[in-house]
Symmetry: C2
Subunit: 445 residues, 2 copies
């Protein structure tokens, strides 16, 4: 396989006290980060100093988790709303991209098109929309529904939602606003386009009351791993957040998505696939492992057992069992399901209950020296398992500075990462083309 | 009537190139302000330098105006979305309040509660929600409806929407987040409250996934002038933007609202009534009048006639008439309607067509020297016609600096305006109490 000549794309994942579920308890982490904008501003500026492509923030439109005893041991019960936070961060950064999550299940396309267009203007071309569908019933209950929308409907709605948003972003030609003080003409009425969308889920007339975004369209990010999710991603995604922990699975996913995109007539280079990874970094491997173990040791068993129940299913009651003993006999899940995978993992590695929940809680850690981290990144990148990474920093604020000061220079020395931003928009950072306007590029009738 | 011992409250109204409909054409105005965050940042910082209570931004969730020839002569066709803009401005200001408009007609209360709570945290207690109902069909068309919601339904929906939002803001006690690293408890589950709202328009379970806002509740702003609007304002508004141009009408409105509030058991001092006013300021009255005339002269007749049609009704065709002649005979509108008022004004002051549309376009100007402006403010304030003003600056960026440099010091010298902010939250600026949490103040069952 030839050595790649392109460079890694890196996203920095925002989380209150860090990505590790028990991060807030660690002495290195700021426990009250959730309501502290200065904390997020410092993270954003560190990421920009490190020349990251973008900041990323996930979202759920509900307090997610009814098991209060477990939830109350995490820093995940409350956080800034993504669009307000990213808008504020736009004002205190210059170059880094801003990826905000918004669900298509409980929003209206006019609002979403407008807010992301506004963010793209505020940031001079740095906005991206992480398009998701809602999967937890808790969200449905906040929006007048008894249960969440089923998978098929959810994706059909998402497809149509996406198409309406893109159509609204094309409401104005790029050069519609002439602002001629002498003649008194502020915009050219011929360069305004009314969408008039009528579909199964939405009727949206348009036009948008925001000028065409600087990027044409804010960058489209997606993370679906289901068949419907992959089909949508191949058609519309420009960045994909992937969740694979093992190289062969990541390579298979990468190849699958790129081939699907090519089959749809897209340039596969115009979809960047970024798996999530959590680096634990120290001067020696032993120290790095110790750092990782420190965080793992802070996971309360109440929380650990809840992670297991969330993954395996509510029918499994482990409360009477020895945490350091094996998992009791458990009926397997549907073949290929998450339950099935986790049960196989426990059997294969002969894990105790505690070891299993720690494995789940640990996510996808990369543990080692700065050059170990760089080796791992390089291996995955060259093996075409990814185009870069979405970096989940285990704790904030310190972990991102360690990464920027110690790992980024190694990646740069190896030619794997930019020395500085070459462009000013997120599309330019990612090497993505600026989309043409669907209306103004039509041939005259 | 005794001289008031309180001080004026001042809001600074944001608009692209200024509030005057032809502002963007004037040499003093920045024509391409609509997409320039730096422009709004400069305005915000000027307002903060002037110790204004708050910035204010209006909103319509549509491109409003089908008469493209007229609309294309204004700078109103596109602008930043209010919540994204105010979030960005929160990051570059320290003390000034941030009032963003959001409609109850085409939003969901969970999103609105969450975004304003997030903005209140981002700004450390400076957020306010201008609660409106949508009145133009153009908005309905963007949200799957054929026509806008009728007046009664709209206000019933608004009432319930408001109550749900307030309930969601009380999801957490102020001291719910204990973040005890030693015990591993991040929040106290007993201090979390689930709303479980089921009403005619909304079913919203809650709780909100944002901590209780620093202000308890962001400040509630409203502007309804109809009977339903005034009833809602008397019950819930903490700031009212009023639209009266003449002192006796403003006094009557002021007295009416304060009496209604008192009748509902509220302290009338906890509703601040701020009429809109557009100051044209110069060193002499003649120069100020000339400045005003310069702006008025930039109104294209196409735009002027459209303003008349929007006000009088589409059945009146003035296209064949001499602009400098009188209005043709026109059937009067419903008694007390805007059409009726404007026709009476034209008759009373013997106005030509052009003079009439210029009168409408001029809004509520106050024209004169800095001390004339201060006299006018003082007169209205002492006559209990208002508690302050929402200042519509005719052009940006210059007009706000003129006001801050020349009018604010006169108001300060007269003891009518603060020398500096005394508090840090918008509630403190306005002298409004911080609301108790409906859940945590309940007596134990």
């Amino acid at each position: 396989m030839t050595r790649r000549t392109d460079q890694l794309k890196l996203g920095a994942f925002l989380a209150n006290s860090g990505h590790h579920v028990a991060a807030w308890r660690h002495p290195l982490a700021q426990a009250d980060a959730s309501q502290d904008f200065e904390h997020f501003k410092a993270i954003a500026r560190s990421a920009e100093r490190g020349k990251f492509d973008a900041l990323f923030i996930a979202d759920v439109v509900a307090l997610w988790g009814h098991h209060l005893d477990a939830l109350s041991r995490t820093a995940r019960a409350e956080h800034f709303e993504p669009l307000t936070l990213m808008s504020a961060l736009a004002a205190v950064t210059e170059r880094i991209g801003l990826i905000a999550t918004a669900t298509t299940s409980y929003n209206e396309p006019y609002h979403i098109a407008r807010k992301f267009a506004s963010l793209d203007h505020l940031s001079k071309g740095r906005a991206a929309w992480n398009l998701v569908t809602s999967v937890v019933a808790d969200e449905a209950w906040n929006f007048g529904r008894e249960q969440h929308i089923d998978h098929t409907d959810r994706y059909q709605r998402a497809e149509e939602f996406h198409d309406v948003v893109k159509g609204l972003w094309d409401s104005w030609d790029d050069d519609a606003f002439v602002r001629d003080k002498a003649s008194g003409r502020y915009f050219d009425p011929d360069k305004l386009h009314t969408l008039n969308h009528k579909g199964a889920h939405f009727s949206v007339r348009g036009p948008l009351n925001v000028a065409r975004p600087p990027q044409g369209h804010p960058v489209l990010v997606q993370a679906g791993a289901s068949e419907a999710g992959k089909a949508l991603a191949a058609r519309v995604a420009e960045v994909i957040f992937a969740a694979h922990h093992e190289l062969p699975a990541a390579q298979a996913f990468y190849q699958d998505i790129k081939q699907r995109a090519a089959a749809l007539g897209r340039d596969p280079e115009h979809i960047k696939i970024l798996p999530g990874v959590t680096p634990f970094i120290a001067d020696t491997r032993e120290q790095a492992q110790q750092l990782f173990e420190q965080f793992q040791a802070l996971i309360d068993p109440v929380l650990g057992l809840r992670l297991l129940a969330d993954t395996l299913g509510e029918d499994i009651d482990l409360s009477g069992h020895d945490l350091d003993g094996p998992l009791p006999d458990t009926p397997p899940g549907q073949r290929g399901s998450r339950r099935d995978q986790v049960l196989q993992l426990a059997r294969r590695d002969n894990l105790s209950i505690r070891q299993l929940y720690l494995r789940l809680a640990g996510g996808n850690p990369v543990i080692g020296t700065p050059s170990d981290i760089a080796d791992s990144f390089e291996q995955w990148f060259q093996a075409r398992a990814c185009d870069g990474f979405n970096v989940f920093f285990p704790y904030f604020p310190g972990a991102i500075d360690t990464f920027v000061d110690q790992v980024i220079p190694v990646l740069q020395q190896r030619g794997l990462f930019r020395l500085d931003y070459a462009g000013s928009t997120l599309r330019e950072h990612l090497g993505l083309p600026r989309p043409a306007n669907r209306f103004s590029t039509r041939a005259p009738a």
